[in-house]
Amino acid sequence: MITNTTARPAPKKPLSCINETSLTKEQQRELYRYLKMTRMFDEKTVMLKRQAKLTGGVFTSLGQEATAVGTAYALEPRDFIAPLIRDIGACFVKGIEPRTIFLQYLGKGSAPSRATDVQFHFADLENGFVGPISHLGDMIPVMTGVLLASRMKKENRVAVAYIGEGASSTGAFHEGVNFAAVQKLPLITVIENNGYAYSTPTRNQAACSNFVEKAVGYGIKGLTADGNDVIHCYEVMKEAVAHARGGNGAVLLEVHTYRRKGHAEHDNQAYVPDGEIAWWAEHNDPMTRYEKYLIENKVMSQAEMDETVKDLKTFLDAEADWAESQPDPTPESAAYEVFDNSIVPPAFKKEVLS
């Protein structure tokens, strides 16, 4: 076993809450499907990348699928999320179809971003999904605005800004969390501490030993969850949501997990100590842990899980095939929608020799 791991080791006593879950068996089976769909979606995009069908980076959530799925599962349809590139599972839970994300990855004209932006950078406000940008931490202030609007319209929504531990070092994090705290907004900032921000290990990101400690300084509630235990993520998030929706103000939730792939597919992770990734894969994989739990508690049999995987494979292949068959954008669609085009004309290329 690796003792000197850079990232946080697995909790000594995982699954502590797992027998006390309030989730029905049906819901637990649904969680399994979301988790598996996340992993299989990632595998599919990696394959499409290798087949050179995708341009641009491929970012996967291998090893941290449970954080996104478990936390998003505790939300209501009216609640809003601003996920990270590794929170594809949260999008699935919020009702985004895989085909939509394939359209984004493939840069198709009918993608929600009209192929103006990459992978995960799109919005679906109907489903409570606010479009994230690359600048980490920026979504926290944006989500405070979503909540100000909700307060003025008396909609009683909760909003979640997902960040990695790296984004907690940004100015936007501070300004957003502090503003939410002062305004007592029902904002839950989920810090997915996965050990690395690109190549930077947590010890070079902040001097505090746990990121949740920052909650004290802002005067808000701090919570921690085992990020590789999907049910624990759900249960802790449920507590966070109840606190926020109850008018008690913002929450900082640190979930401990581990990023088993590089920042993106091109990253060979040479900076990771030997054996660390293998250790997490073997001893603390959220998928393996949940499968073991489901069987031990007789929620699902191995055969049922195999059946789910088979269904998902057919489903995801069909979704990807459909997306691939969609038309590419026209070049001049680049000129549209900088402003409302009913007022300001599109920014077409100037004819050089007119």
Binding site: T116, L125, G131, I133, D138, P141, T144, M152, G171
Partner: protein, 335 residues
């Protein structure tokens, strides 16, 4: 429509007209709200929103911590949800702290299919008030190269009210520059129409008709241009046209080219530093699209390439002076 508490005379200053415009929009549309530092209880550093909190309450007059990224970000988030935020920079110099949110979030959201941002980002800009390097900024050039942001700057009380109302109703993010030197300038006192009106964004205005040469300018420099035009007519018999751009993005190319074709001699005048200023863009438009109409090279008159200095003697040296504008006009006419 309720009226903002104001002075007794009917001809009021620019700051009161912006205030009146904002008040009317907040009264007419519940989705309009104000967010910024000291805007609520205190009524704003320039008292533009004094009394608003009593009328509209704390939920629509949001006092924030000193956090421009949070102010801009929150305005964006609320705008996505169907609100029409009016965010204040206490001084436009502090836009630097919200730059990322403006240029990466607000400006790109519609283009990225993530939703339009009908928000106004307003505040006092400009120098000549001995504010020094951090309370005198003219920020337009910082944003001219960012697709997705509109920019306006009024130079009359009428335009100030009409533009703030247009900006609030606009479906896209608008930077609304208010030259602080003009806020309470008696010269700009004006009696405005009783009825509701807007000034269309993207349209310039001819501040003075002329036929010998044109000064294209905006903001407080419009007054300098008008003074120079008066003097040039008196002393040199020159007929000077003054174009007040009002909108800096999008630019009113039609009006720009029209005045070039009319007078054939153009001076571009702005208060921000010369290098990389909006004057370069204007000159390029004229050179590319009206070259054969020019009887003289385009002249740019702007501030020197330094931060805005504090001492009166130095700030006066920094900015284009009336004398320099007149001199440039003579040179242009004589070419």
């Amino acid at each position: 429509m309720s009226t903002a508490p104001k002075s007794e005379t009917k001809a009021v200053t620019m700051v009161e007209d912006i205030r009146q415009g904002l008040w009317e929009e907040m009264t007419a549309d519940e989705s309009v709200f104000v967010i910024g530092e000291d805007v609520g209880t205190y009524g704003g550093a320039f008292k533009l929103t004094e009394g608003f909190i009593d009328q509209f309450g704390v939920e629509r007059m949001i006092d924030t911590p000193i956090s421009e990224a949070a102010i801009v970000g929150a305005a964006c988030g609320a705008a996505l949800m169907g609100m029409r935020p009016v965010a204040e920079f206490q001084f436009f110099d502090f836009v630097s702290c919200g730059f990322d949110m403006l240029t990466n979030y607000a400006a790109k959201s519609r283009y990225r299919g993530c939703g339009g941002i009908p928000a106004v980002f307003r505040g006092p800009c400009g120098g000549g008030v001995r504010g020094g390097p951090f309370h005198s900024l003219n920020a337009e050039a910082f944003f001219l190269n960012t697709a997705g942001l509109k920019m306006v700057e009024p130079s009359t009380a009428y335009d100030a009210k009409g533009l703030i109302k247009a900006a609030i109703r606009d479906p896209d993010p608008v930077l609304f520059f208010e030259h602080k030197k003009l806020y309470r300038l008696p010269r700009l006192r004006e009696e405005l129409p009783e009825e509701d009106y807007i000034v269309e964004i993207g349209k310039a205005r001819t501040a003075r008709e002329g036929k010998d040469l044109s000064i294209i300018t905006f903001g407080a420099m419009v007054l300098n241009a008008l003074d120079a035009a008066e003097e040039l007519e008196k002393s040199d018999g020159l007929s000077v046209e003054v174009i007040d751009l009002r909108s800096l993005a999008p630019l009113d190319k039609e009006a720009i080219l029209e005045t070039v074709k009319k007078t054939n001699r153009v001076m571009i005048l702005h208060e921000a530093s010369l290098t990389g200023g909006i004057g370069g863009e204007l000159s390029a438009i004229i050179a590319e699209e009206a070259f054969e109409w020019l009887d003289a090279p385009v002249i740019r008159v702007a501030s020197i390439n330094t931060p805005v200095p504090f001492a009166p003697q130095m700030e006066d040296y920094y900015q284009p002076s009336l004398g320099e504008i007149i001199e440039a006009g003579r040179k242009l006419a004589a070419y």
